[in-house]
Symmetry: C2
């Protein structure tokens, strides 16, 4: 999927901020333009490999929703910084997971090698803060984004620490996705609301919206790893299982199934080089035990809570987009 | 070498800021204390594996030298942030270079694996900015350190881009070491001077001092790779050559030698799995062509320029330390 040709569903969601998103795209091109050729190549590779631009969109929608003021350059810098942190994290994740494909395209690490990809990720992380520090006099925004990045790294390490461990609790799973996804999306809406001149109450409501959206989004993402269409998601089914990541549908199933099924699941999960057949068997067991239904219900609960955070705001196209976004993340097929 | 038992030469250099350095050590322990166990383990491993604490020392000496004010918490936060960025960069470099030892101890990546080491490096990078943003109202310091980190990543990528390339010019070599080392040390003294309430002129002079010190330091470091005592440096001789890094002594030799020697050097350098014998042969050729003398002269010139930047300051123990430091970096054996 090319960033310049967004899919229609998403395009409608982001219609009220289309011009803003296009301005952010220009800022991203500018900010990733290093005078070191190889840095430019790798940043460009990741930038042009698409992505939903969910984080900039959240910051922009929050800023426009609050709507007291719209200091465009500050809003665009914050939105671009969020996307750059996301890009850096994807690049490093692909190194950590030894992933060869993302969104149906080869990963930066598989094209350019791990070393240079790690370093270019560092470049993007630092550049995002530099962009904020040069375009915004609000130190609080630097705080939010640096804390978000701290949390994201901690979440990824926690996830790696509990990989291949079937005794992981739902609480630990939530802790992982809270740090690696929810805090970040909360940081985007919080920052947008701050840039837009929101009151403390508005900023808190939009931050909560982002946190619930993030939990819904990540649980839905983990569901797609079992149930998605690889042509749509751009990655093969069962990637999480292959990487030893135990997510909510499986955790729930292990909680409710009998000991025989548990032993069977454990044996399947621990198979070295787990095959598509084993993945299909695990998927079948989870389906029979209502693991997917449970996870979908948890995701939908968080999506509903996200929508509820918006009730205090006047009905505008921006609020409508944020509401639809919360519904879309649990219904999406990629 | 243990951080708690610094070597005597260095200890004397840093004597005027001994108490400050000890306070920074406490801030470092605090700031790297994540509630994710594995993050704590790896940060701790890198923290306790020593290091010269050169960057905090530079920031502290600059702040004390300027001496108009010494806001201790701000100075300690800036100094700890500098060391954390350095730690993160070492962790990522060891992943990039697939290094197994640093300072005679196993690297974090060799103990904990590449994935978690990359992520913990990200944690430290982000935490350094978070520490600054929470302890300092001076956005300019965030700018300096984020720009320094951008430059460092670019320098490392540039270095990787020209690896194994014997046609590298002295200008490109200087560009690499300027970005990967000199800008950082300049950022430390600049920040220290700002925290200390220095005038624009004092800040500029101390920034220049740091830049020249950085160039001298890196050239001396590159010399140690050929001429150092592995027991002192903690890494085997010829590591740069093994990793395909072409540094000033070799660049200079290739500029002055005859075509036959050039062909010989090229053949030796391109040997797969270059052995100690080939390293010794290359070292001998460089020595006969004055490559080491030339590099030492360039380093000493930068050290002298660094000292010259200090002439406007009153003679204090802090100025004396900075002067001796410039002399020490070119004379050190590790």
């Amino acid at each position: 999927m090319n960033a310049r040709i967004p899919d229609p569903k998403q395009s409608a969601l982001f219609a009220p901020i289309e011009a803003d998103l296009s301005a952010v795209e220009d800022r991203l091109l500018d900010a990733t333009r290093s005078d070191i050729g190889r840095v430019r190549d790798i940043s460009g590779h990741t930038l042009l490999s698409g992505g939903k631009r969910l984080r900039p969109a959240l910051a922009l929608l929050a800023a426009r929703l609050v709507g007291r003021t719209f200091p465009a350059e500050r809003a665009y810098a914050a939105s671009a910084a969020a996307e750059m942190i996301h890009m850096a994290s994807l690049m490093h994740d692909d190194v950590v997971d030894e992933a060869h494909e993302r969104r149906g395209r080869p990963t930066a690490s598989s094209v350019f090698g791990n070393g240079i990809t790690v370093l270019t990720g560092d470049f993007l992380l630092a550049k995002s803060i530099s962009l904020l520090a040069h375009n915004d006099a609000n130190l609080h925004i630097v705080r939010v984004f640096s804390d978000v990045t701290v949390g994201m790294a901690e979440g990824e390490v926690l996830q790696a620490s509990v990989a291949h461990d079937l005794t992981i609790t739902p609480e630990t799973y939530e802790e992982v996705i809270r740090r690696k996804t929810a805090w970040f999306l909360a940081g985007c809406t919080e920052t947008g609301a701050m840039v837009g001149g929101g009151t403390a109450e508005e900023i808190a409501a939009l931050k909560d919206y982002g946190a619930h959206l993030g939990l819904a989004f990540q649980i839905a993402d983990d569901l797609l790893d079992f149930l998605g269409d690889p042509k749509q998601t751009g990655k093969p089914l069962g990637t999480d299982l292959k990487d030893g990541r135990v997510t909510l549908p499986l955790i729930q199933t292990l909680t409710v199934c009998d000991s025989e099924t548990k032993a069977h699941l454990t044996a399947l999960f621990q198979t070295p080089d787990i095959s598509d057949t084993e993945i299909a068997t695990i998927t079948g067991i989870i389906a029979r035990h209502g693991g997917f239904e449970h996870a979908r219900m948890v995701a939908e609960t968080h999506a509903a809570r996200a929508v509820a955070c918006l009730t205090g705001f006047a009905p505008t196209p921006f609020r409508e987009s944020l509401e639809n976004l919360a519904r879309y993340v649990t219904a999406r097929d990629h």
